[in-house]
Amino acid sequence: MRFMTLSVVLIKLVRAFITIWIVASFAFVILSLTGDPVEILAGDDAPLEVQRYYEQKYGFDKPVWEQYLNYLGSLARGDFGISLSDETPALDLVLEAIPATLQLGFAALVFALVVGGILGTLAALHRNSWLDRAIMSVAVFGYSIPNFFFGIVLILVFAMVYRLLPSSGSGTWAHLVLPTVTLGTHLAATIARFMRSSVLEVLNQPYVRAAKAKGVPELQRLARHILPNAAIPVVTILGFRLGDIVAGSIIVETVFAWPGMGRMLVGAVTSRDLAVVQAILVLTAFTMVLANLLVDFLYGFLDPRVAEASDTRRRAGR
């Protein structure tokens, strides 16, 4: 077994570094082009003295290039700066919000897997029956409905008309229900459709027929032979769709006042709170880059051909 050479590792690290730098710069440019943080911090009708005080305190009186260099400098030291809206370290705020987002994301994922998986399996087992058609209609609906609209409909029905569930906020398990359903429905619909076709395919496999012929009880057949095999393509698409949950959380957290990272990002963008936006973006970019990097290294470790290929490519000057 051969590990990647040092130079290959270095190149990958440099690439990762450049990616994070681009993300950080992008955040800086977009936010400084479109708004005035001091105006948002001090209020538009604040006396000039107050505006000047904040400009000096947070360095907005300096030329933009200098602000940019300072920003990169402190970023390099792991200092994400101070949130302008409440004058606390941005990193602390973001770290505090991560658990809420993870909780909601995880709940939505479980919801999507269980509901999508069960509905898809049912539809396949009852192919072309009324149940199949009903489930697939629901799936098309769930797939097409925008989550900001679906969320408000759920609030209307379950909070306002029947008053079964809290409309927004967090704190109890009941608070988690509506946002989870809203966030997970799209993925559940996707999974249901994949699960259906996947189960149908497995049902026709010789080994399933063999198991049936052998007299394996149907529940056991389902649990041992059909579902595990049918799950493979579903797990594959799950990887692609996880990003949807992250993106969806921005809207769903705002609609349901869920105190997570997505909502913090929206609030920080509207109030031009550069430090918080940058902390969220850079942390997200860092996680993605790190994950990719680890996978790359892992591939190289598991499969020597990958390492050798990149080595040869480099030697060939490509």
């Binding site: 105006e39 003295e49 919000a97 049912l122 087992l125 398990w173 009941a174 705002t254 105190p259 909502r263």
Partner: protein, 534 residues
């Protein structure tokens, strides 16, 4: 039937049902605690640092002022003052105010309230000196000469020149009394004032110590601020044991939360939602016109708008009655000039203010030699309630008198005022019931519009009067000068008025609460009650 038995199907359905089954909502606690849904939480709870509407509505419950302004029983003209932390006050001379402090008041940390707390709150280095820790304080109190403790229960304020409205100043922004002990604990020998104050601020911005009906006990960004009743409050026992301000950015979620009983109250409900709210019989609403006016600014330095005939024409062309009817159900009003009835002795009921006269507008357009070129009208979409609708209507009103305006939507006031600014939407708050806390702040010689942006260059008389208003002793002379100042202002027409916006709250039927025309939300025992029998 299908190859798989019914039992399996039902088993799967049951599993499905159990995953979507809902834990029942938590049992209602018997202690009266309420949640209030707000669009945005306070940025911190330090009354010297922040004075925005999102901030004051929360910290108003944490602090008291020496003198209180009675918003609920306001007279037709002027303001009614009532005792707060001061039980009485007197004027030995025009420059001096002596306040007698209330006895038996306890701070949130248990320490007794006394003259030291007042002297600390109004200390030169903290509030009003040239380098004061809170630069905002200079805006209200830079004319103080000294604030001294006479004895434990008496404090003497002396101003550099006579200040007729010092009492009013003590009711408002930056006058909230903080208890000095927790701050002084950060003081260190040899460490500059601003430095240890900053450390204290960092420590206390979410755990401040005041004397108000509630003390702050919890905060989470984007989520909640929790206040708990201050048992020893001098004004009586608050009606609830805790208030949680919950940040709910979506209007529909705020309404839903009040309808479902999750929140007792919600703020910032736009007028177009009132029909929705009226459909629920367990929710009621209340509104108040704010001490704030939505205005349009005309940039005098722009070549097209440099002619004041054109600026006046644009003002005469606006039918404010029609605007208020269309956008605010005619529930709000337009002040007659840059003054409010609460200005009292300074207020002139005879003033016509900004009127509608399309014929005159057409004449003035002609007189100005306006060539029909497009005038840019900038606004930040969503910044002012009904701002976009108002702009579209006004654009049409201007067209009626031959003025072509184009709406330009931008992101920030920086962009609003950037190169090419001609007309833009803005608002002016009357932070004190006096021109020195209103027109002077927004349009006076030290205002950004004169000093920083240069959009308004008034005749020197305007600035002279503005500067002199602080210290004129004779009430009649002061009023005459102010009215003269308004004449100049309306003739120069650097801005015109639209209306004072209406702010609407919704709440459960059992809530008895009155909104104030400044952004304060008063949850004290006098203004907030939950009716029994609910």
């Amino acid at each position: 039937m299908s190859p798989i038995s019914k039992s399996l199907t039902f088993g799967l359905l049951a599993a499905l049902a159990s995953t979507t089954a809902v834990a029942s909502a938590q049992a209602q606690s018997t202690a009266p605690e309420i949640a209030v849904a707000v669009n945005k939480l306070a940025r911190n709870l330090d009354p010297g640092r922040q004075t925005g509407n999102v901030d004051v509505r929360v910290y108003f419950s944490i602090y008291d002022t020496l003198i209180k302004r009675d918003f609920r029983n306001a007279p037709e003209v002027g303001v009614k003052l009532e005792p707060g932390l001061a039980t009485s006050w007197s004027r030995p001379d025009a420059r001096t105010l002596e306040v007698t402090l209330r006895e038996g008041v306890v701070c949130h940390d248990g320490s007794p309230f006394n003259a030291d707390d007042v002297v600390f709150t109004f200390s030169e280095e903290r509030l009003w000196g040239g380098q004061s820790f809170y630069p905002r304080g200079r805006n209200y109190f830079s004319h103080l000469e000294s604030v001294e403790k006479v004895d434990d229960r008496t404090v003497r304020f002396v101003t550099k020149a006579p200040d007729l409205i010092l009492e009013e100043r003590l009711t408002s922004y930056t006058s909230f009394i903080v208890c000095d002990e927790p701050w002084m604990a950060f003081q260190k020998d040899g460490v500059p004032f601003a430095e240890w104050m900053e450390a204290a601020f960092d420590e206390m911005k979410w755990a401040p110590v005041g004397t108000g009906p509630f003390k702050a006990t919890g905060y989470r960004k984007n989520d909640f601020i929790r206040l708990e009743a201050h048992e020893g409050y001098w004004g009586g026992k608050p009606a609830v044991s805790a208030i949680e301000f919950k940040e709910v950015p979506e209007v529909s979620a705020r309404i839903a939360g009040v309808v479902s009983g999750e929140y007792k109250m919600a703020v910032d409900i736009p007028p177009d939602q009132m029909e929705v709210v009226a459909g629920y019989d367990n929710v009621k609403s209340t509104s108040v016109s704010l001490d704030n006016t939505h205005v349009l600014v005309f940039n005098q330095t722009d070549p097209v708008l440099a002619d004041k005939n054109l600026r006046q024409a644009m003002s005469y062309a606006i039918d404010r009655d029609a605007l208020r009817k269309a956008l605010w159900n005619d529930e709000n009003y337009t002040p007659n000039g840059h003054q409010l009835a609460s200005f009292g002795a300074m207020y002139s009921a005879e003033r016509a203010g900004y009127t509608y006269d399309p014929d005159k507008a057409r004449e003035l357009v002609k007189a100005s030699g306006y060539d029909g070129s497009t005038i840019s009208f900038r606004l930040i979409d969503g910044y002012y309630l009904n701002g976009r609708d108002a702009a579209q209507i006004i654009q049409e009103m201007w067209r009626q008198v031959g003025i072509n305006a184009e709406l330009n939507f931008v992101e920030s006031f920086k962009q609003v005022r950037s190169e090419g600014a001609q007309v833009y939407a803005w608002s002016n708050t009357y932070r004190l019931p006096d021109p020195t806390g209103a027109i002077n702040v927004n349009w006076g010689p030290n205002a950004g519009i004169q000093k920083k942006y240069g959009f308004f260059t008034p005749p020197s008389e305007f600035n002279d009067i503005a500067s002199s208003l602080v210290s004129i002793e004779d009430q009649g002379e002061r009023k005459a000068k102010f009215q003269r100042m308004l004449d100049i202002f309306e003739d120069e027409m650097p801005m015109t008025m639209l209306y004072n916006p209406l702010v609407t709250f919704i709440m459960a039927n059992d809530v008895e609460w009155t909104p104030y025309s400044l952004y304060f939300m008063d949850f004290g025992p006098d203004n907030f009650k939950l009716s029994l029998g609910q």
